[in-house]
Symmetry: C2
């Protein structure tokens, strides 16, 4: 049912040129994907950090006003340092990410072999992105590609919106969901005159990490929030769920491929079918995931046992190409048949 | 600087008739406040629970579809019960509130002696309010009173909007902020053509419980989120901050009285002054709170050391009447001079 690309991982950290000579690329993963002028375009999340010195951990953050990079450097033997998580460390009571992410454009004729830009396409700026920008999702609306992404800063984890027509000039449009919110996937057309999106707020007291729906007149102001699906305790998606990329329109309904993680932090991909006219109505949901971390580049990495797709291209012939992060480290791809997925939802 | 009303607490649980003969009123607190037809109106949060039986803890939840009340009843000696918090208990892995809240209208000629309706004005309904509705804030826009409040359910803690023109007929308008979000305070007029509100999302990884600003064209869809103020570690507002009621327009700026809590969960009231035209700009912020739990009805209660104001009436003569929950239990009031507060902000 899943055809992994034979040249996986498609993009590894070593394939990406650091944005500065004193930086190294830690991860190249979780890409947004689109078709543009007959080619496949990825906006790859490139996570960088300063070249590490012996006895220290260091990371980079951007200044909220000037945009300049600042290096945070901490002695590994400092008792005020907690660096047990490969993604996060805490120093003197402040949480930092171990890397600073930006987006890099990668282009392919066949969707498998990508040419990666030598420079960032979109980088962190302003007060809501000082810890970087992460996990682009791309939705084409008329002739414009809307890119939503996670902005991380000491102010929280928010969702921001940007747009481009050509993957050269990008315009940032600000914060569309306040903290904590990520895994936003905007529908590719209006429904009954409104834009729709899936989003993933974080409910602390109850509710957990569930997928919600919101709608908008202008893509910037969102309302009419409704819960769609939550985690199913004990199942493959028992700890959290989150949207993947923009939903695909099928005669049976909006098909959303979503990620779920379980109590072992294994991330898999399943499917959700939503009513075409009332997308808050769930028609069906995967009992079992169709993409499970099984390949070495999914079972190992910065974190083990992760497939996390944020890019999806509808080939128009009944096949979908999924672009996903393997092991929270590298960019991978696979092909699925829409019909196969819909069959599991019956 | 603070003149507490001499008949505090203004409304105690025993003053409120339960909505059903088999229920008891646990708390009557955190009211929204407005002036209407020359009188002062409060929408008091009335927290009820079933009359408790020996050996059991029980609470009520509403059915998301039918709206009917269901009683949840748990043996106190069940090892699957955790009932250490007076507001919350956990039974068989599910969190419940110890009470179900609705809003009750209370009316006063002098703002001090209130006549309390014998029946609820606004009650929980639908999927986002099964655990009740809490902490109304009222903003008058033209001839309509907009009431935002917290909806609690197993789907999360969200902010909902309703409106009324007469405090008799209420219309619910749905969820305006997804989980977790509370302490919403809508500005009483448009600024540069947009509605504005303060809101309090919950940032888990970083950012904490901070006050944010959003704006809207229609009061239902909100965007342009910006962080305003966060907790100040070690200070009186070091753990969390949240807006109180609608900001007051003064020549110096928008005056927002906000609550902060410290590491001992002491809740106090301080002030924030925001730019009249660019309300995301903080002109000044209280170094010290002006309302501190000191009276017996603030130091004791369901939870100790809490003043939590959600109601505010501008008397138009330089004085403000604050209506607040004391000890998370009862409704209290006090009068402050705008000039006194502004002086502390210089």
């Amino acid at each position: 049912m899943i055809q992994r690309f034979s040249n996986n991982p498609l993009i590894s950290p070593r394939d990406v040129k650091p944005s500065r000579p004193d930086f190294e690329v830690l991860c190249a993963f979780n890409p947004g994907a689109a078709s543009y002028e007959g080619r496949k375009v990825l906006l790859v999340r490139v996570a960088e950090r300063p070249l590490q010195e012996k006895g220290y951990i260091s990371t980079a953050v951007t200044d909220p006003v000037t945009g300049e990079l600042k290096i945070v450097r901490c002695p590994l033997d400092d008792p005020d340092l907690d660096a047990r998580d490969p993604r996060i460390f805490c120093y003197r009571g402040v949480n930092y990410l171990t890397s600073l992410s930006h987006f890099r454009t990668a282009i392919s004729e066949d969707g498998k072999s990508f040419t990666i830009d030598s420079k960032p396409s979109l980088s962190a700026s302003g007060p809501y992105e000082t810890y970087g920008i992460e996990d682009a999702r791309i939705t084409k609306l008329e002739d414009t590609f809307y890119i939503n992404y996670t902005g991380v800063s000491q102010l929280g984890v928010v969702t921001c919106l940007a747009r481009t027509r050509d993957f050269r000039a990008f315009e940032k449009l600000g914060v569309i969901f306040g903290p904590d919110n990520k895994d936003v996937a905007i529908f590719p057309e209006k429904i009954d005159g409104r834009y729709y999106t899936l989003h993933r707020p974080a409910a602390k007291f109850v509710g957990g990490l569930a997928i919600w729906l919101a709608s908008s007149d202008n893509l910037l102001d969102w309302g009419r929030h409704q819960a769609v699906i939550g985690p199913r305790r004990g199942e493959w998606d028992g700890e959290r769920v989150g949207a993947g990329a923009a939903p695909i329109k099928t005669p049976q309904g909006w098909l959303e491929l979503y990620h779920g993680s379980d109590e072992n932090t294994r991330y898999c991909t399943g499917a959700l079918l939503l009513d075409l006219e009332k997308p808050w109505r769930v028609i069906a949901r995967s009992q079992a995931p169709f993409l499970i971390p099984e390949a070495p580049y999914e079972r190992e990495g910065l974190l083990p046992n992760i497939v996390f797709h944020s890019g999806l291209i509808d080939n128009g012939n009944g096949t979908l190409d999924l672009y996903y992060g393997g092991g929270d480290l590298q960019t991978c791809g696979c092909r699925v048949l829409v019909e196969d997925i819909l069959r599991t939802l019956k």
